[in-house]
Amino acid sequence: MSSAAYETVETDVLVLGAGGAGLRGAIAAAEAGARVLVVCKSLLGKAHTVMAEGGVAAAMHNVAYQDSWEVHFADTMKGGKLINDWRMAELHAKESPDRVLELERWGAVFDRTWQGRIHQRPFGAHTYPRLAHIGDRTGLELIRTLQDRAVHTNRVDVHMETTVFKLLMADGRVVGALAYRRADGSLLMYRCGALLLASGGAGKMYRVTSNSWESTGDGTALAYDAGAQLRDMEMVQFHPTGMVWPAGVRGLLITEAVRGEGGVLRNKDGERFMERYDHERMELSSRDVVARAINSEVLAGRGSPHGGVFLDITHRKPEFIKSKLPSMYEQFLKLAKVDITKEPMEVAPTLHYMMAGVRVEPETGATNVAGLYAAGELAAGLHGANRLGGNSLSDLLVFGKRAGDAAAADALRNVKVEKAKVDPVQVDEAVATLMAPLGRPGGENPFKLQGELQDLMSKHAPIVRDEPTLEAGLEAIKDLQDRAQTCGAGGSATTAFNPGWHTAYDLRSMLVNAEALLRSAVARKESRGAHARSDFPKTDDQLGRVNFVVDKTADGMQVTAKSIPPMPQHLVDALSKSYATYTPEETE
């Protein structure tokens, strides 16, 4: 028996995270007959999924009859510069239409075509209009639909505002987790048959990000700590269009739908500069290309007054803008006092998404650790070196369901695991580590350390990287890791809703993610997708055949190259088929 006082809760499937993947996984697992407990750091329905604006990509060919899963597959693979897990890309392209239609059957209300079908809008690097959407608040609709479905599904329970800080192992299998309630710091021990990680990315390790306080990479760090492999950790996405001004809103997302609906990018000379970077696709090129283009324009001194470029949609009618992009209109009017129907927006790249994450089996979301599954932004593979807009929401649905199904089957097969003997030492150690900052009134302020980490990552792992800067970043990370071991909680010793104390824990998760990112970025000596190296500006075909995998070893973090298995012929065919470029009809 451990010395720490905690409440024990048993379940079949424990789900970490209540975003799209977590909720879809929870519904799937419950429908498969498992008892499910969803644990999330915030209130239900506040997960980062609500921030998704543009839409969910699914080849339903409601707008462009030529679309098919093969084209969606090819777009995803080419966008990801071919280091994607091709099986995941295949499953995703084939299954996303069913997942979208299923949402509608659960009450989601999508925008319609004139024939009454689900409308689909064009988006960057998608050959055809493919994004099912609800104005520019698709993520909210998705999360609300899943949330209502989940709470009205038998056997699903939710623990809100609860943070998991340790995965419990017995005989090489994940059998539970330790958590604390944010409101009062009380401890919980979860015992489960299988555990599904769906807690999202780690964008908060950057200063300029569209991510919330929650995105601290907890799940990835927990998985790594339990022995799970990570992959493609060098691949993080800078969304081309974040707000740059006023300073208070820097990094806030401007949906790609602005460009999807016809918005154009101009530099300070009024030049439509995308012409020089991607003549064919222009503003609707893939996100890595547009983000680098904006970065280059600013560095060349052709930027806007506040260090961005201009995004202009004023050539559209005001009523069109207000109906297609209502929350963007509102956001700029309220926060920047800019009327986007009359003036251009100032935009610059903002850290948005991690293609990086936990390595999983494509069919099931299983990690290399028994009993541990992963889905959503936290799982890596589908997006390769660059994610296409709209592929994230479909990712959550397709692989959330798959991982939920598999975790339920596993848990129901292994019901005795709940009785597994958990070594009390691992419990005591984890609790002691969690509590330690509260006992260091003079320790460094975790918010200050978090700020230093954000500056470090922005400086050492920016859009365009090079070896010396990355290596210097790794040195600096070591120093921060040492200081995080001994940091305080910011002065107060209370366990009652104490964000300083919470941040001291989150910081450790972010540092694992940051180290893995820097190490993998050093290893990939080429430029590919979101990973651009000024010292290796070209793409290396040899490196196109590998993923970099991160392992926890006795000597610390190890990065190794792992070969990508050859693609089966039917996928090679899908990839090499040439597709007619779609010219959008005038919708006004």
Binding site: D148, P246, G248, L335, N498
Partner: protein, 255 residues
């Protein structure tokens, strides 16, 4: 004149008691109240409890009363005020700590509302559904709700009279409206409206509508039409008579 700093008064304390505490906060251009509160948290009071997530008025986490008015902190520029701003937690809900209140009652209410229910025929078909844009637009307004619960906070039935046991509050009138007016939903929630949900308690002061950050016409487009639907079956004497003369069947007005 450009401000360089402001005095931010934040309510600090828990259910046992507390007080307004003053903090001097440096001002940056375009700063919103949430920025100022988070600056205090990072630099002066690391144990200051506050909820926030998206910082873009999309998640509805950072609800508070700013100068006594229910608002989202992330959407409230400090430039809208002078050099002194007071921030307090929502009053309609039990306090946990500082700016964080216990809003779990709302989640319990949501569980009691029967979910979206399409007809047998719509459930059975394998064909994708067809709906027209003009038919779905009506419910889209309600589905914009970000669950900030500011409408619940300002509703005098909940706030002043604490009648949470008999009235679900504006948020859930919007929720019920989004289901009742969904073109594919066939369930009748009028008995719920008259009974447990207590739509009759609303006396149309429209305060909820005024504070809604998503500009949902809560009273005009959700509550009043729901009241009318309920009145139709329960309180219209002619309709009532017709219903009584019909052969006995499961009907809201007969039960």
């Amino acid at each position: 004149m450009e401000l360089t700093s402001l005095e931010l008064k934040i309510w600090r304390g828990d259910a046992k008691g507390g007080e307004l505490v003053s903090y001097r906060v440096p001002v940056r251009e375009g700063m919103v109240v949430l920025d100022a509160v988070l600056w205090v948290q990072a630099n002066m009071a690391s144990d200051l409890a506050v909820r926030w997530n998206c910082k873009a008025a999309k998640c509805g986490s950072c609800s508070a009363e700013i100068q006594g008015f229910p608002r989202l902190m992330c959407k409230t520029p400090i430039a809208d005020y002078g050099d002194q701003i007071t921030v307090q937690p929502m009053k309609a809900f039990p306090l946990i700590k500082d700016l964080v209140t216990d809003v779990s009652w709302n989640y319990e209410v949501n569980k009691q509302i029967p979910p979206f229910t399409p007809s047998e025929r719509d459930r059975a078909t394998s064909e994708p559904w067809r709906m027209q844009q003009k038919d779905v637009e009506r419910v889209m307004e309600f589905r914009k709700c970000i669950e900030c619960f500011l409408c619940q906070d300002v509703c005098h039935v909940l706030r002043n009279h604490d009648l949470k046991s008999v009235y679900y509050g504006p948020r859930f009138m919007v929720r019920i409206a989004s289901l009742e007016m969904h073109p594919k939903d066939v369930l009748d929630r009028r008995p719920l409206l008259k009974g447990q949900a207590g739509v009759g308690y609303c006396n149309i002061t429209k305060c909820c509508q005024e504070v809604c950050p998503e500009h949902i016409h809560i009273t005009d487009n959700a509550i009043i039409p729901l009241k009318e639907r309920m009145d139709d079956v329960y309180f219209d004497p002619i309709r009532w008579l017709i219903e009584r003369m019909k052969p006995r069947q499961k009907d809201p007005a007969s039960g």
